[in-house]
Assembly symmetry: C2
Homo-oligomer: 384 residues x 2
Amino acid sequence: MTVDDAPGFAARGSARDLLRLVATGAAESRADLARLSGLSPSTVSQRVETLIGDGWLREVGEGKSRGGRRPRHLEIPGDGGVIGAIDLGAHHARVATLDLSGHVIASKSMAVEVHDGPEPVLGKLLAAVTELVGSGTGAALRGIGVGVPGPVEHSAGRIVSPSRMPGWNGFDVYRFCTDRVEVPIAVDNDANLMALGEHRSARADLDHAVYVKAGTGIGAGVISGGQLYRGAQGSAGDISHCRVVSADPAPLCSCGNTGCLEAVASGAALVQALAERGIPVTSPADVMRLVDHGDPHATAIVRSAGRYIGEILSVVVNFFNPQAVFIGGLLADCEPLLASMRASLYERCLPLATQTLLIERLSTGVDAGILGAAQLIIDRIIES
Amino acid sequence: MTVDDAPGFAARGSARDLLRLVATGAAESRADLARLSGLSPSTVSQRVETLIGDGWLREVGEGKSRGGRRPRHLEIPGDGGVIGAIDLGAHHARVATLDLSGHVIASKSMAVEVHDGPEPVLGKLLAAVTELVGSGTGAALRGIGVGVPGPVEHSAGRIVSPSRMPGWNGFDVYRFCTDRVEVPIAVDNDANLMALGEHRSARADLDHAVYVKAGTGIGAGVISGGQLYRGAQGSAGDISHCRVVSADPAPLCSCGNTGCLEAVASGAALVQALAERGIPVTSPADVMRLVDHGDPHATAIVRSAGRYIGEILSVVVNFFNPQAVFIGGLLADCEPLLASMRASLYERCLPLATQTLLIERLSTGVDAGILGAAQLIIDRIIES
């Protein structure tokens, strides 16, 4: 278990938890924090002083009287700095600046190709963040959270054996970024950050949920016990190489096995399958456009993808019994895919596991990744 | 999330956690408990006094001096009572008495048939527990933990839609037992209790692990963050109706779907498949005997079962990234089954997820269920 996933006292009363209580409006005084966290007033004061000293919190004026001494009001300073966020996909990226409460100030989508290799791609994205910061109010950059579309060795920030990211295997994203910008950096897998962003920003009440990212590749992030769940090696949620039951014929996957979910249901797989039938597509966005225009071949293949995703998720749902399954990424906007994924889940899961299961699109949409990247780096800075 | 699974402060400093620290020998004084739990000395004292008042702990003599006032020694009283445990299978049951530390005092295996229905079966098992208590030292019975081979509505102790348990659907095991014996009762699924027993008694250091029970039926228990994980509806770990990739033809399952793991890899499925080939078997134990005697048909079918279990577990391992997968139940003693399950896992999982994965038999063997049943009721009594 990694430190930030550990259940226990730290999860309810750490400095970052106190900050989050203020950021969400749940607490507006030290007394609120003590009541909500169960910490002693002296421990709350100690942590609040640290947060104030580091510029994360400010204590002003007088709060509402509750009898006795009037509590002072805690708030997150608007001029306390900004957070940078990068969400890198296979063919595009989204960069943003966010305030210390984790709300987006400015964002920008840009075309990039991971095939160009890590140095030019990351260099371009760091420059874009710096530009957004420079065009802002002048508040200082406090740190940058970076999401990448491949497995990340969580403790190190290094990419490990990614599919569809030639030239990135073993690349130390953390080191590269840290060498170029003078602020703290945190790196994680894009699906993990999508899960974290959606959970914290939209439905933080969910204890157990699965967040599937279906874009050029396919993956998932997991929330368990209200926290991002990474598992023993940090690879939890990586369903991309699970074998699909009904894929026939079973195509060869980049991992060397056949019939993997990635090889039959990812955006890249859909492009390849349509191209092999002579239909001129070069990107998952092209496939989505064909579906929008009612192309039967494209729609049929997207329906199959939804069914395959549903088959693998049916094992996940039976085993993990989550409250919700969310789908995000470029393919999530496609109604036929969501419909056939739902059909598969309802057909193959225990009725007990689906009777109250939510199966929905992300409510934070394309912003989920940058919201999660910001949460990751805020957590990391305050922990350290 | 159910109360006893909630991560957070309760998981580290509750009265049951303090008792467990003494039971495992990790703590022998209030000072040890304060140090290990992080609780204040006054909170520790308050909880210890409650445990002493309720007869779970005794404070005696003087402990080792560490300078200053000598700590008094905490221990679990040998005459403080006994715990009853029932582990019911489809064709047999195991009942036991255990001391307040959760060690077995006496146990007994007996033939029972769940097909006989809940009242005669549970009546017989309660009588067997009472008899074991009566033949002991005279210490009073404090409570009984009951494991049953089907889905249990955790909050209520009622059985919900079980396969292979005719007459048990909706039966309120908790109520039936509580009406007959004057002690607290707790009821859970057999696979959950197997997981809890193995985890607490053998490898409590594991944070994330999966425990497959392969007997007449098939199921799994899950440990996450060091706690029994039940999921949103309490059905986590129920992999019995996951569809198996390569089962062809796909047999009809009792749930109305085809190709479920239960229908191709449970002990009951193996008996049926061999019987259909004219091989005279009536129970999973008969199948195991044939394998022991080198019967090629029985061995082939057991190898297939291992492969099917491995196929479903490969999705579970990719998704959940546990440190260990354990197998228990009658079929677990069969080496060809374990070997083909391992082969499937290594073939179909991410290398990152299996590089340090333990794939083993339970080390507590047939006792895992009664050890878990005792832990369940001890936890329940102390919580209440």
